[in-house]
Assembly symmetry: C2
Homo-oligomer: 198 residues x 2
DNA sequence: ACCTGAACACCGTTCAAGT
DNA sequence: ACCTGAACACCGTTCAAGT
């Protein structure tokens, strides 16, 4: 008469959701397959059916993270079609904001363990980075960025955002300072996006 | 007749050196107090005398990392007293190079766990960041950077370097591309350090 | 195909005891 | 002051067995 396990084929999603919550409240070190199984009300061996080992769970989390971040960036990039400065600012804010809100997930996504990651993770990450290119390609052709090499500048821009997020996540600077640095980055990268030039 | 333990008061240093090696060959997850004790030829409880727990070992590693990186940056910054572009390039290369060679250590230094770190770690990190300011203070006053706010620009510059290192460490870009991005950063931040401006 | 539950090796941490 | 060694709780992983 005891009810059957109430997850019918969605245990994988349940585990991932619980893992994201744990990641947000604690950190990567708090992620335990056994604890997740406990929260889901299944035996400690059950996750094995969906994740071959702990790393597979981490990879799945990273993939979902890249997909979510890619969506956030694409959405921000579509918001201000006519205003380049506002668009760059929106994308930068979305990127840094995601990294701040989900610092542990972001750390997971960009950890050294991403090396040799499964194809799905690599694909999701690639989708994010190429979307940056599509957002500003026309503006690069129009010479609205302080650069001669679009690809280099795009990477450097992403690197700057990534670095701002890292400084905030490691509490080297306060979260509020992030907006200042985003503004400084916009001023630096975009021609005429700056209050001053020297 | 068995020899006494051959570490007389330097077990702490022996453990830290072994930990740095493990960090370089493997990753943070490979760091085990028991394994380090084994390598040092002491009992598994011995490290307790020098590190209250695993986190204390990690903190000590982070502190040493910040000190080494601070030295490397200061040395690079003293190399080209008369040539700003060369100096900025040297500092950037030193920073990114350190992050690439000791990727796992760098990740440890900037991990979210740096939050609430002991004063020694915070002090070592602060020493690094303030040294950046001292290196370029005069050049900022001379208006040789594309900026109106020296502190913001310094932070953004560090963020860019940090981001370049992160992209390389996570294998999002090849290590060789790091030099390109450093060059692009120099061109962008330093007035007249660029091949082109639009 | 998915889940259970026992088993094994490993780890961090604590602590009384030795020198 | 520093190290030993037993003890405990917890974890990842494997695997035979159930449904």
């Amino acid at each position: 008469m005891t009810p059957p396990p109430f997850h019918h084929g969605n245990l994988r999603a349940v585990l991932l959701d619980a893992a994201e919550r744990t990641l947000r409240e604690g950190g990567v070190d708090d992620l335990s397959l056994r604890e997740l199984a406990r929260q889901a009300g299944v035996s400690h061996g059950a996750p094995r059916s969906h994740f071959i080992d702990r790393q597979a769970l981490l990879d799945a989390l990273a993939e979902r993270g890249f997909l979510r971040l890619g969506d956030a960036v694409a959405e921000a990039g579509a918001a201000h079609p006519g205003d380049l400065v506002a668009r760059v600012r929106a994308v930068a804010t979305a990127y840094v904001g995601f990294a701040v809100r989900d610092a542990a997930l972001m750390e997971l996504m960009f950890s050294a363990k991403a090396a040799g990651a499964p194809p799905a993770v690599h694909a999701a990450a690639g989708r994010l980075f190429t979307s940056f290119g599509a957002l500003f390609a026309a503006d690069f052709r129009a010479g609205r960025f302080r650069s001669t090499d679009p690809e280099r500048t795009q990477l450097l821009f992403v690197a700057a955002l990534q670095g701002i997020a890292a400084l905030i996540a490691s509490e080297r600077i306060a979260p509020g300072r992030g907006e200042d640095l985003v503004e400084e980055a916009v001023a630096l990268f975009v021609v005429d996006g700056a209050p001053g030039d020297g």
